[in-house]
Symmetry: C2
Subunit: 398 residues, 2 copies
């Protein structure tokens, strides 16, 4: 019987928490609120917190990621929350309600911090993002990050760049005081969204190979270096089809795919996971923000000779009003192949990035992308879509 | 000097009509309101309506399509309009304004008729669609067409199926009376949207090869059977990459691409047009309607052994409310390759059909599509996108 350590499949946490009986009726036993305290690989058992041994034929690591805890004084006190799993979300909601939170400070302006800012702002709170870098969402081109920052300001979210948090104190009123190099912010809640790293300590303890990324090394069937031991989700690596490297890409859709691939291989219906192209997206108020493949910097690091361009246009034909949309394409100078794309827009960004993800998956070049057949109609784009325009523009630059 | 017959590029008609000086400043002479009455291919000249001869080195047919005129008594009278080009649209707008039109009857429930119904209804008119078949948009699966019909009714557009129009009469009041096998409809405007066919009479007159589709046969560089004679747009054929057949697909984005390909080849910077996959879309009130590749029927006609499934889901993750979206995938039983897809939804249909258009372009199979990497975020879809679900479902059916 396979034994899963951690969440079976990340996005199913809610399901697991609420309806373990659903799993049980399918013959899957879900033990809740247990901790695995040790594993004897040769003996074929795991030790759980109650001291009990659970025997396995097959072991699956689905231990996910853990938050990176910044070294800040006062970070471990009530009202300061990390954002990782469903329990965190429930605790945050409860705190907001119980304390009547009016002011929130978010540490970190990555896409998780941005999504959180939207949620809290939409719920009526006064929200401040304190960010180490100059602009939010550093994987995105600065032109796009500027638009995100402006959107935050328009929606009444304070975005403070280039700032170091030195401590979190407590007022006599009970309020939290976030101390920084640029002054203090008072709030009733502080949310830390400064990133995650793969949780691999148990895997490491039994000698499973850990990749350069710090995540568990796996093959295309989710097998680790130890026989009958698999790893899936945020704790594992995944093959990036563009860089041809094994990467750690902690996203829920990838975790789902890996979970199913592992299950198929364990269950005797072999399946190969052909990897990812690095597609991701988030919404920021009215903005769709999406990216796929490699950024220009990542492409350089992967040994390509990238060239890129940004084209601004509209997600609808001119006659139907303008819905601003920007698209960056990144291609390899020598082969003309697409390496990556980013888009931010009032509409249409995700759809275009998904189409370009398929193009990346197939290794298309700019000539092909410049003349791709899309489902054109004026409400959804001009006859020459921004994808065509960008591909042809970039091709001329090579 | 190349000589273009017809609209240079279809979607640029508005531009041409309004700003011929734009073209002229680039050295392109635009003669308006002239008719080509004959061509002497060997002599290398065309005769225009004033009797004048225009000499050419290269000739481009961009004659577009002409409306199919149904044999209906009274069809050629004021208030009855065809819908083909910018002039038609301007005349319709003028008539609506001058006559204070309150009731409109549209003949034909294809996607042009549906788009027209939305426009007129949104402008406050009482609108009736009289349709020969059972359901609108016959290229789409009946499940989707049912939703379109229900949407028409919800929005207050009368859709009358299985009806034959026998004549259009005139009331003493000046109103039009559309006579049918099922009774009469009174209206101040009647719009005929019963389809188009390629306009090839001039091309035929000089012996240019006409394909089986009735459109001008071209190669991958838009060359016709006669040296230095090209054809582009709705009057020409285009290569369908899925059926591997030359088809006539009168859509504006394809015309644009063909125009540029011809221009490049004429201008000495050769370019191959690799064809289409049959992507198209239209909006119907709140609905995005899109399709690509072959329908099940078209796949059978093209010699495949198709199998298909329809999956219903949402364009957003469950936690963010439900935005209904249906997706049909059509695949080949023997190879497992995707042959076509259709989607109708309150959001997200066009983006998904575009991604699947790229998959069709590259000849992907269901195994690959079932695990494609998309830019997942809850506002834009569940972690297992409807595309993944449909591909895996269909794969299991084979």
């Amino acid at each position: 019987m396979p034994y899963y350590i951690g969440d079976v499949v990340k996005s199913h946490e809610a399901l697991i928490a609420r309806t373990p009986e659903k799993f049980e009726s399918s013959g899957v036993k879900v033990m809740q609120e247990v901790e695995v305290t040790g594993i004897d690989y040769k003996g074929g058992w795991v030790e759980i917190s109650r001291g009990e041994r659970k025997f396995f034929d097959v072991l699956v690591f689905a231990t996910g990621a853990k938050v990176v805890t910044p070294e800040i004084e006062g970070i471990n006190q009530p009202g300061v929350f990390f954002l990782r799993n469903l329990e965190d979300a429930i605790a945050i909601k409860k705190w907001i309600k119980d304390q009547g939170v009016k002011r929130a400070v978010i540490l970190g302006g990555g896409f998780i911090g941005l999504e959180m800012a939207e949620s809290l702002r939409t719920a009526g709170m006064q929200v401040t993002i304190l960010h180490r870098d100059n602009l939010p969402a550093k994987r995105w081109n600065p032109e796009f990050s500027h638009w995100m920052r402006d959107t935050l300001h328009e929606k009444g979210v304070e975005f403070v760049p280039r700032i170091n948090v030195t401590g979190i104190g407590k007022e006599e009123t009970g309020n939290l005081r976030v101390q920084t190099t640029e002054g203090d912010w008072e709030a009733e809640i502080v949310i830390i969204a400064t990133g995650v790293r793969p949780e691999v300590s148990l895997a490491r303890s039994i000698g499973v190979n850990i990749g350069k990324t710090g995540a568990i090394a796996v093959d295309f069937g989710q097998r680790t270096s130890l026989i009958n031991v698999y790893a899936v989700g945020d704790c594992s690596e995944v093959f990036h089809r563009v860089s041809k490297k094994w990467v750690n890409f902690p996203l829920g859709d990838i975790a789902n795919k890996q979970g199913r691939v592992a299950g198929r291989n364990i269950g005797g219906r072999p399946l190969v996971f052909e990897g990812i192209v690095g597609a991701q997206s988030f919404r920021l108020f009215d903005l769709e923000c999406a990216a796929t493949g490699l950024s220009e910097k990542e492409a350089e690091e992967a040994g390509f000779s990238p060239i890129s361009t940004i084209v601004w246009g509209s997600a609808t034909a001119k006659a139907l009003g303008r819905r601003r949309l920007g698209l960056q394409l990144i291609a390899d100078r020598s082969s003309g192949k697409l390496l990556g794309a980013q888009a931010v827009g009032l509409a249409g960004a995700v759809g275009r990035i998904n189409a370009l993800s398929v193009a990346l998956w197939s290794g298309m070049n700019l000539d092909q992308i410049g003349y791709l057949d899309f489902a054109y109609a004026p409400p959804f784009g001009p006859a020459w879509d921004i994808v065509h325009v960008a591909a042809q523009t970039l091709k001329r630059m090579i």
